[in-house]
């Protein structure tokens, strides 16, 4: 149980660190709030879509910037705009700020500056993806853990009593940490 407690604590700490470091902002919290029993994996879904989209856009921009015969800044501008929209929708604060910085270079048609910004953007995106994936895993792990424990409890009537009280506590902890409890029947 201690292990699980620690897991929960880590989840909460990690989650707050994301906010503290400005990797995600309030919009992300809103997204988390939208998750409920009707859409239990909403945040993960949105995040996956965002990752796909972001990668595609970053690649497109990189390709555009590599063009020897002249960089199409308009296309880059469109990519930035779209990325800014989606990053702000998901609450990816640093990615969004990187986009804003990028935009000024793209407006100035500054290829070198754009390349630098692209690097920065790519870095921020990677950071975000890493962190979010960790977050998701911990959240999923805690859910799975709960399931396991429940199964363990249910199937273990003869063994030393694993108090249901503890199970309920665990459930509360998981929910408090932002995870959700799968309904196991």
């Amino acid at each position: 149980m201690d292990f699980v407690n620690q897991l929960q604590r880590k989840f909460i700490d990690y989650s707050s660190s994301l906010h503290r470091e400005g990797i995600v902002d309030d919009q992300f919290t809103q997204l988390r709030k939208l998750e409920d029993e009707n859409s239990p994996h909403f945040v993960m879904e949105v995040a996956s879509l965002f990752f796909e989209d972001c990668e595609k856009l970053i690649n497109n921009m990189a390709i555009a910037l590599e063009q020897k015969q002249g960089v199409d800044f308009k296309q880059i501008d469109e990519c930035i705009h779209q990325l800014k929209g989606s990053s702000s929708s998901i609450g990816a604060l640093r990615v969004k700020n990187a986009c804003i910085a990028f935009r000024s270079f793209s407006d100035g048609q500054n290829r070198e500056g754009c390349l630098r910004c692209l690097q920065q953007l790519s870095h921020e995106y990677s950071l975000l993806k890493n962190k979010l994936q960790t977050l998701f895993r911990v959240s999923v792990a805690s859910r799975c853990l709960y399931v396991c424990l429940v199964i363990f409890c249910r199937g273990n009537e003869h063994a030393e009593p694993f108090p249901d009280v503890l199970v309920f506590q665990l459930e509360k902890q998981i929910v408090a940490a932002g995870g959700s409890i799968p309904r196991v029947h």
């Binding site: 292990f3 796909e52 690097q119 890493n130």
Partner: protein, 659 residues
């Protein structure tokens, strides 16, 4: 003419169940929007394509109550969609954009948006959007339920004066009220009272192609200056159409004319400037554009220009009847189409126009007496034998194909400004606006495949001791099933690349190393333990990076770095990230610490690997089975499709050998 009477079934619980159509090309935003709207208890339909949205709307005009649309979309400009929806279906449209420039918002208003929201959109904002539906219903009701037209000279004059006025329907109603006799007003209001407002939807006048054609014919006949709703109504001779309906439609129409005239003005200017256009064009352009539209001052000039355009288009119509369905709609449609052109900027606008001029100009100089815009449009349409590009309901909406071939033909025509050509097709044709990005993107894609430098991004390792190894590994990695991971690898790889750039003369940017390194240093937290690791990390990283991608499995214990398998494991999972092998150190006695280390390690290194599963290896034996189960479930949950046994086996192996 269709006047549809719809009995609403949701008015009792309105706004619950209000039917919203959401259009946004960005899947993230679209999903978010859908979820938010569903949370507000609306009935949501989503699409990422404006063309699809139009199709859906045209299929059944009464299927939706409200449309929310993004401004920047690849296949069609959001403002264009806005106009079309307003003109054809008269539905309230809300614009959505990440860009909140005043200019853009102003454009939204000009095109008739009833609201403009900024991304990220919040649920509070969406909770109130039903007001636009109600408001429009109320105004429309007043508009349409008038008992009939009364000859009110001052009303007519107010309409004429209202030419330069972009009053909304509502405002027009107010004006009407101000200037009307009281009896008229009272009659209307009585009419309202008698109706059961709360439970019945107003009969909505749908301006079909047929109807609009009559309208345009009537206006033509009267002359734009003399076209007043009452007379138009008489000429049209349509049942169940009120003067108010005509009046509001006329107002919208005039708005378009004005917009077109702006475009024509720019066009003519540029035509003159470039001088590569047929002289007839120039003359026409001058007449149509420069002279009268230059300042857009005074309604008279606009009248004249519009009138002339009108007349000519009338001629055009007669001349070109076989051109297909909706030819009569050409002038207005041409007008409508051209109006969004402005959105794309003046310079490109004129160039676009120019381009389109060049092609038809070669053929029919005399027909150019008519509206150049409608002409070129006709030309294009003639080529296509396609009906009007989805302007009106009866017209075939599957115009994307002809559009693409049109753009193709434009390009083939070998106009000099090829980038603009795409833009031309973009501007000319409604759905054609999809073509430019498509073409451009496809060009890019094509060029990408053969582009050598692309590999700099795609390379997974920056170390280039053996570039063939890299390519080989790249191929291996790319063969793996996870496009996302692979892409992530591509992107992420830039980090290691840069990390090593100073040493290795990597082809990629050298600025980044400073970025990554700085970020690495910045993330200190409680990573004191990691400090030592970091110092030693460079060589380790280098080695690992190299080894990782060459052959993960062969790395095994070459240097006694058992945890070199970790990276391989990771790589197998498709993360393609370098793991500092120092993680071997992270097998402290205290399992809690493992967790503390885990994410922070990753963070500290600045790499993107998430290996919570490895946490399993750190957990002492008694929970081993549980962890197995959890990990297995996690794996399944994420549906990565990796060989679970192998991974886990590695973890265990590494753990046991290291401890």
């Amino acid at each position: 003419m269709r006047v549809e009477r719809v009995i609403s079934d949701e008015n009792d619980s309105f706004p619950v169940g209000m039917r919203v159509l959401a259009v946004d090309d960005d899947p993230t935003c679209l999903l978010l929007l859908e979820t938010l709207l569903t949370k507000c208890k609306y009935n949501v339909t989503t699409t990422s394509q404006a063309i699809t949205a139009l199709k859906m709307l045209r299929e059944n005009k009464n299927k939706f109550d409200l449309v929310i649309s993004d401004v920047h979309m690849p296949d069609m400009d959001g403002f264009k969609l806005l106009e079309l929806v307003g003109l054809e279906m008269d539905l309230p449209v809300i614009m959505l954009s990440a860009n909140g420039d005043t200019k853009l918002v102003m454009e939204g208003i000009t095109h008739g948006a009833c609201d403009y929201l900024l991304k990220p959109v919040r649920i509070e904002e969406l909770q109130n959007i039903w007001q636009h539906v109600i408001r429009r219903k109320k105004f429309d009701r007043k508009d349409r339920d008038g008992s009939g037209s009364q000859d009110k000279p001052y009303i007519d004059s107010s309409e004429a004066a209202g030419l330069g006025n972009v009053d909304h329907n509502g405002k027009f109603n107010k004006k009407r009220k101000d200037q009307n006799e009281d009896e008229d007003e009272e009659r209307d209001e009585n009419g309202h009272d008698n109706e059961d407002l709360s439970t019945q939807k107003k009969p909505r006048v749908v301006w079909s192609v047929e109807l609009h054609r009559k309208f345009v014919a009537a206006v033509n006949q009267l002359g734009i200056e003399k076209a007043v709703p009452k007379k138009i109504l008489e000429l049209m001779n349509v049942e169940n159409l009120t003067r108010e309906n005509v009046a509001s439609h006329l107002q919208k129409f005039r708005l378009y004319l004005k917009r077109i005239s702006c475009v024509a003005n720019q066009q003519a200017n540029m035509a003159a400037a470039l001088g590569s256009v047929d002289s007839t064009h120039l003359r026409m352009g001058t007449m149509n554009g420069l002279g009268n539209f230059h300042t857009l001052a005074g309604p008279d000039q606009i009248h004249n220009a519009a009138f002339r355009s009108f007349q000519h288009s009338g001629v055009l119509r007669r001349l070109n009847t076989p051109a297909g369905v909706g030819i009569s709609g050409l002038p207005s449609s041409g007008l409508v189409q051209l109006s969004p052109v402005q959105n794309l900027g003046n310079t490109s606008t004129y160039q676009r126009k120019l381009q389109s001029f060049v092609i038809p100009g070669n053929h029919n100089a005399n027909i150019l007496q008519g509206m150049p815009m409608s002409l070129e449009f006709y030309q294009l349409q003639n080529n296509r034998a396609a009906s009007h590009v989805g302007q009106f309901p009866s017209v075939d909406n599957t115009t994307v194909l002809p559009v693409s071939s049109i753009s193709g033909s434009l390009i083939d025509a070998g106009c000099s400004n090829s980038p603009l050509l795409g833009v031309t097709s973009n501007s000319l044709l409604l759905e054609g606006s999809s073509q430019l990005p498509t073409l451009h993107a496809s060009n890019l894609r094509d060029s990408v495949s053969g582009f050598p430098n692309r590999s700099t991004l795609s390379d997974f390792t920056s170390i280039a001791p053996a570039s063939n190894q890299l390519h080989g590994s790249k191929a291996d990695i790319q063969d793996q099933a996870f496009p996302i991971s692979c892409n992530a690898g591509k992107i992420i790889s830039s980090a290691p690349q840069d990390w090593n750039a100073p040493k290795k003369d990597a082809p990629y940017q050298s600025n980044v190393p400073s970025c990554s390194i700085n970020s690495l240093r910045a993330v200190n937290g409680d990573m004191a333990q990691l400090g030592q690791c970091l110092d030693q990390n460079n060589p380790i990283f280098n080695r690992n990076v190299g080894f990782d991608f060459v052959d993960p499995l062969s790395i095994k214990c070459s240097e006694g770095e058992n945890l070199a398998m970790e990276p391989s494991v990771i790589e197998k999972e498709g993360y393609l990230m370098v793991q500092p092998s120092r993680q071997g150190i992270y097998i402290p006695d205290n399992e809690g610490e493992n967790f503390a280390m885990e994410p922070s390690v990753i963070e500290k290194e600045g790499y993107l690997i998430v290996q919570p599963r490895r946490q399993g290896s750190y957990i002492p034996g008694n929970l081993g089975s549980l962890e197995d189960l959890a990990s297995a479930m996690t794996k399944q949950d994420h549906d990565k499709g990796k060989p679970t046994d192998g991974d886990f086996g590695y973890n265990d192996y590494s753990l046991r050998t290291c401890i």
